[in-house]
């Protein structure tokens, strides 16, 4: 039976917790491994480039492409970009690129374009690639996909704590609201849907200008975005989200100059690990490779 957890349980477990210290899911970082076993680490690559917005408010597509390629090379362990992408998609694949089109804070178009371009360069036929969000259930490419690439921007969310890679698959559900219970605790179950299961080849969490706070559910003010100029890539969506979550929480605490936990906590990320075993959320079990600009990285 799943253990119900209180703050006191965590304090007992992490007696070294500093008051006001860095919290993940409003918890001590070293309290993550509830119910998980020791095992191999999930590799996650964080790459940043401070020149990404040097030309203004739009990300430079050339720099974004370089960041993506370097991150994927590092993730796959390939020294050659072509080989790196070839290890992710094969020419025979039917590829759905699951993006996010929320009008106030969508996946940057440059990322959709870059991913599609890389998939085509890997030899996939253009008729076998689709970029979609709200229409994925009716999109013949997604319905017949052999490979999925998951890409979306990182932001706070009024009910699930954050919108990141795990949550991005909610549009594959016949009834998205059926995943809302207990602040979206069961989002990781989306990965068991037949249209999704076992198909995701790459998760890309875009932190070009993450949204670290909102005042109402529909709010995406530039006041609460900052040019982090980063990308997180990985094969484990839970590990990718866990790293992104720590960054967002770090920024919130720095900006507000106090502990400013996400409201509500991003419970679904921890449960993706401990209840659904989709991946690991425990920082101690994540091999985080940081590339590029490191100032105020928050991880």
């Amino acid at each position: 039976m799943e253990k119900l957890i209180t703050r006191r349980d965590l304090l007992k477990k992490t007696a070294l917790m500093a008051v006001g210290g860095t919290l993940l899911l409003n918890r001590p970082v070293n309290a993550w491994a509830w119910g998980t076993e020791e095992g191999t680490k999930s590799k996650v690559v964080l790459i940043r480039n401070r020149q990404l917005f040097a030309g203004g408010n739009q990300p430079d597509s050339g720099i974004a492409g370089q960041m993506l390629d370097e991150a994927v090379r590092t993730l796959t362990g390939k020294s050659n970009t072509k080989e790196a992408w070839a290890s992710i998609v094969k020419p025979a694949d039917i590829v759905g690129i699951k993006t996010n089109v929320w009008d106030k804070f969508p996946t940057p178009i440059v990322m959709n374009d870059l991913l599609k371009e890389r998939v085509l360069q890997a030899g996939v036929n253009e008729t076998n690639v689709s970029v979609n969000d709200r229409g994925v259930k009716d999109d013949p490419i997604f319905k017949n996909a052999t490979a999925l690439i998951n890409v979306r921007p990182m932001r706070t969310h009024a009910w699930s704590g954050v919108g990141s890679c795990i949550k991005n698959y909610i549009m594959f559900s016949p009834q998205p609201s059926s995943y809302h219970d207990d602040s979206c605790a069961s989002l990781a179950a989306l990965y068991e849907l037949p249209i999704v299961k076992g198909k995701t080849r790459l998760h890309v969490l875009v932190l070009f200008n993450p949204l670290f706070h909102h005042r109402t559910p529909q709010d995406a003010s530039e006041e609460y975005m900052w040019k982090y100029s980063g990308l997180i890539v990985g094969f484990d969506p839970v590990a990718v989200d866990s790293v992104g979550l720590r960054i967002l929480q770090g920024k919130r605490n720095a900006f507000f100059q106090e502990d400013k936990p996400l409201n509500p906590p991003a419970k679904h990320i921890e449960l993706a690990d401990t209840r659904y075993h989709l991946g690991t959320a425990d920082p101690a079990k994540i091999e985080l490779v940081k590339l590029g600009w490191d100032e105020e990285s928050f991880v």
Binding site: T6, R8, L11, G20, S183, D219
Partner: protein, 295 residues
């Protein structure tokens, strides 16, 4: 089983949770034309239909008893879009609760409490929570959202009552705009992680408020909850005490935790009080005495 709740005389009446259902806000009275802007979309969602508009974000409003959301989107040639959203809640208390989710300072430019930014204004008045926003700030759009906020404010004829439970909050050291009113357990962790489940049995018939006291580096949190009857308060108190601080007793009602912060929990009539994260026994006792004297 050892219940160690501190039971003291109940001296206050129950807060009214739900007023009678309101009449429909006259959204048709919103202007079709607004300077160079004109209405391009009308918004009208009842209850869970709001999922169609904001999917998961709708749950915040539903957790406060949303009746409906009506509004308009305004567009104009080469002008950034202006959006008006009027959330009609089951009571003024609930409209105030939604407001406490987003506000971080006290302003009263519109309605009974508002926050104004160049791109965004939100306020509450009576049983309505209102947001007016623009995609991009230019003089025309900024002026438009200010005008619309003022117009809607004037269109709502009466004021609403704030939840009675907030009157129980001690004023000393309370942060300005530093409290959240709610009656869904998801918001229990709004300021600090307390539990990953409904440890004090909060439901739609329970009024709860979580408040911040003191500076950021020595902050205490006070939780107050008013239940429909004393038994429910006692059960919640017992559960919190047993799960959180089983060593708490009548002789030793203030417990120092592993991180050197202090905790206590008590009931008075149908109300529960709890203090988390206090930085000394003295501070815990002081806040406890202030709180219980107002309960």
């Amino acid at each position: 089983m050892r219940s160690v709740c501190l039971i003291i005389l109940w001296i206050m009446g129950n807060a009214s949770m739900f007023a009678s259902l309101p009449e429909q806000f006259p959204v048709d009275s919103l202007p079709e034309q607004l300077g160079l802007y004109r209405v391009t979309d009308k918004l009208n969602y009842t209850g869970k239909e709001l999922y169609d508009y904001i999917n998961g974000g709708a749950e915040l409003y539903l957790s406060y008893g949303l009746v409906s959301m009506t509004g308009c989107k305004y567009n104009g040639d080469d002008l950034p879009q202006v959006t008006v959203e009027i959330y009609e809640m089951t009571s003024a208390e609930n409209a105030f609760g939604v407001y406490t989710q987003g506000r971080d300072k006290e302003e009263y430019d519109y309605g009974q409490g508002s926050q104004s930014f160049p791109d965004f204004i939100f306020f509450w008045k009576d049983r309505y929570f209102v947001t007016v926003s623009t995609q991009e700030v230019i003089p025309e759009s900024e002026k438009a959202i200010q005008y619309m906020a003022g117009l809607i404010d004037k269109s709502i004829p009466k004021m609403g009552e704030k939840p009675a439970i907030i009157n129980d909050l001690p004023k000393e050291d309370l942060l300005p705009a530093g409290f959240l009113y709610f009656h869904h357990y998801i918001w229990l962790n709004a300021y600090l992680f307390i539990a990953d489940y409904n440890i004090i049995n909060i439901d739609e018939n329970c009024d709860a408020v979580l408040a911040k006291y003191g500076e950021a580096d020595a902050r205490s949190y006070l939780l107050l909850a008013a239940y429909s009857d004393e038994e429910k308060a006692l059960a919640a108190c017992k559960n919190l005490q047993e799960k959180y601080a089983p060593e708490l007793s009548v002789d030793s009602p203030f417990v120092e935790l592993e991180d050197k912060t202090w905790f206590t929990v008590w009931t008075r009539g149908n109300k529960l009080g709890a203090i988390f994260n206090a930085h000394s026994q003295e501070k815990t006792e002081k806040l406890f005495k202030s709180a219980i004297n107002k309960m």
